[in-house]
Every structure is written in C-alpha cells, then in structure tokens.
Symmetry: C2
Subunit: 200 residues, 2 copies
C-alpha cells in the first residue's frame, strides 16, 4: 500500500520517466520540489510542454531543433563538403564541444537493430543518401558508436555510399587520451594495435 496521497504518488511516478531516476530518487525529487522549489517545478512543467510542442527534427541533419533547419546546417561558415554521421544529437554536441570539425552532420537518431525492428528506413538512410548527393560531399565520416549495432550500421552505410563513389572514413578507435594501458579493455587494445600508424 502506498503511503502517499494520490497526487504525490502521481508526481513520483511521472518523475520516473527521466533517465536514471528510480523510485527512491523520484521520491526525494518530489518532496524537494514541493517543499523548496515550487517555482522551479512550474518552470520545468512549462519548459517540458513547450519543448515537446515545438521541438522537431532539422530537415537536413535530423538533429533536434525548434527551427526547420538547425543553426549548424544553416551556418554559412561551415564546410559543405564533409558529412559526419552520428547516432544521437548528444554526439553532435560532443563533437562541437571537442572542436576541430567544421563540416555538416547527419543524425541517425538510433542505429540498425533488426532484433528491435529498427531498419534502414527508421534511421533515415534514404535521407542520408539524398543529403550526401545534394551537398556533393567529398568525404563521409562515420562516427557511430563502437558497439556491435554501431559497427553494423557503419558497415551498412559504407556499402550504400561506396556505390556513389564517395570516400567513406571511420573515426579512429584506440586508447583514450589520459588512459592507462593497464586499465584499457582488451578489445580496445586490439583495435589500437591493429590501427597503429607509422611515425613520420
């Protein structure tokens, strides 16, 4: 039996939609909001409603945005000849924060996963091909995650785009900077070894 009043119970349940929030955290958040942060709770309520109502996908890169075309795709300053394919909007942000890339993006919003019924049309492969053709890109950079599904997705895209005569590259996998070899997993270490480059 629940010890909460129905509305508190409803709020706790609703908070669990947030990633990484379990029952106990949701309880603590609910009480904290109701005791100390009622204005913040109302602001969050409004922000959620507005975001869900207005944020859609960019026509060009499929990234999340409230505009028809996101600011990265709309920018005149960015290189139009390279296209970087990532799985999620968060990956775009990670690249932008890292700096060093000034080309276009394409966000798959997922990866191929036949077991979950996610096929090429769900991750927008046809739109990726259209975008690559309309931009007349010289290089397509595959930056899907180094997981089984990410690798399979990268392989599938490579097959599709090689027919078009586009140069396709994959971001390097290896030992992360600041990492200690001793603690790096064996898969990564094997990748780092096979991907070694001649020092010039």
């Amino acid at each position: 039996m629940s010890h909460y009043s129905p509305l508190i119970e409803e709020l706790i349940d609703a908070l669990r939609v947030l990633q990484g929030v379990g029952r106990k955290s949701a309880q603590r958040m609910a009480f904290n909001l109701l005791q100390h942060k009622r204005e913040g709770a109302l602001a969050l309520s409004a922000a959620l409603e507005k975001a869900v109502g207005h944020i859609g996908h960019c026509q060009h890169c499929r990234c999340l945005t409230e505009q028809a075309v996101c600011h990265l795709c709309a920018s005149e300053k960015r290189d139009k000849t390279t296209l970087c394919v990532v799985e999620s909007p968060a990956d775009v942000i990670a690249f932008e924060q890292a700096g060093g890339y000034n080309g276009q993006y394409f966000v798959l919003m997922g990866h191929l996963s036949p077991i979950d019924g996610i096929g090429p049309e769900d991750i927008g492969i046809d739109r990726l091909i259209e975008r690559a053709q309309s931009l007349q890109i010289s290089e397509l950079i595959l930056a899907t995650n180094p997981t089984v599904e990410g690798e399979a997705t990268a392989y599938y895209i490579t097959e599709q785009l090689r027919q078009m005569g586009v140069k396709v590259s994959r971001i390097a996998h290896g030992v992360p900077l600041g990492g200690e070899l001793e603690y790096v997993d064996s898969g990564t270490l094997a990748h780092a070894l096979s991907g070694r480059r001649v020092v010039e």
Copy 2:
C-alpha cells in the same frame, strides 16, 4: 557558447531544479525525453503543474497532502495519545514503511537554524504545542535527524513541552542493524556505548 537551440537549452536549465541533477544528467534527460519519451514528458509536465497547484500542508501534522487533513491524521484506527515529531514528509514515509508505530505525526518541515534565519515560528512550534494540547498526548517522541541542527531542535522542543508535563522521548541512536562495528563512525559508537541497556 551554447551548442543547443534556445528551447533545448531552456529545458536543460529547467531540469537542473531537480535534486541531484547536474548539467550533464540534465542534457541526457532532455535528449532522452525528446527522442523517446514525449508522452511521458507531457505527463510529467501535467503532474508537476497539478502537484504545485493542489498540494498543501495537512492542518494537523503539516505533512504534504492535497486534502485539508492527511489520511494518517484522519485515520480512526491510529493511536491519538502519542505524537512523533519529524523533520520532513519523507521521514513520515520512512516510519510508515518500517512499521511498528501507530500514533500521530508532526512534521516540522525543517529544523532550527539561526544562521539561515529559521526560528521556532518557521518550523511551527506553536502549532506543535497546540496539537499536543488538543490531542492530550501522553508521550511525544522526538525523531529529528541526529545532526547538530536536529539535536538542537529536539532540545528546544523538549524545553517547551516539559513545562506542559508531557513525557518527551528521543529515538535511540546507535549501531545500525547489519552494520559492522569496524566501519561505524566513532560518534555513533560513542552513542551506542552510552545508550547501552541491561540485558534481562
């Protein structure tokens, strides 16, 4: 410079009102909601608005509830002669889940903290005295947290209620069940020793 569109930025900012959610978690939550859980996000928005609009304090125990009197205070089955004083609504839930207590509660919604400007009127001491008088309680149990502020609050309440001739008790502090002595802090161990009881 932010790499997000204004509405996403607003949502991320708003999510940070939640306890224990920093910038990075808020980003992940925002993207997760917008990509996969739009209905859940709307439900959360509605639950927050409803909760803030309707949930107030119980007239008797000051606990959070949308009714005038909470279900614990309204219950006919509960003992009216003991009153347990706690700091927050979450403490009430903790006692109810633990079981073994069937009396009334009083929620201070905080503790005395002169440095933050929180005095006796802010934690409802006058209402506690009224409640103790109207119930004609035989025992008042102090279950404030075993922190400096909690102890000070317990001491203050003891002084106020002793004048009324009410028996005042404090919950036991000592080694938690399942804990290993080796890992218990010295303050707790000293409490456990001074609070020892004769085995009969």
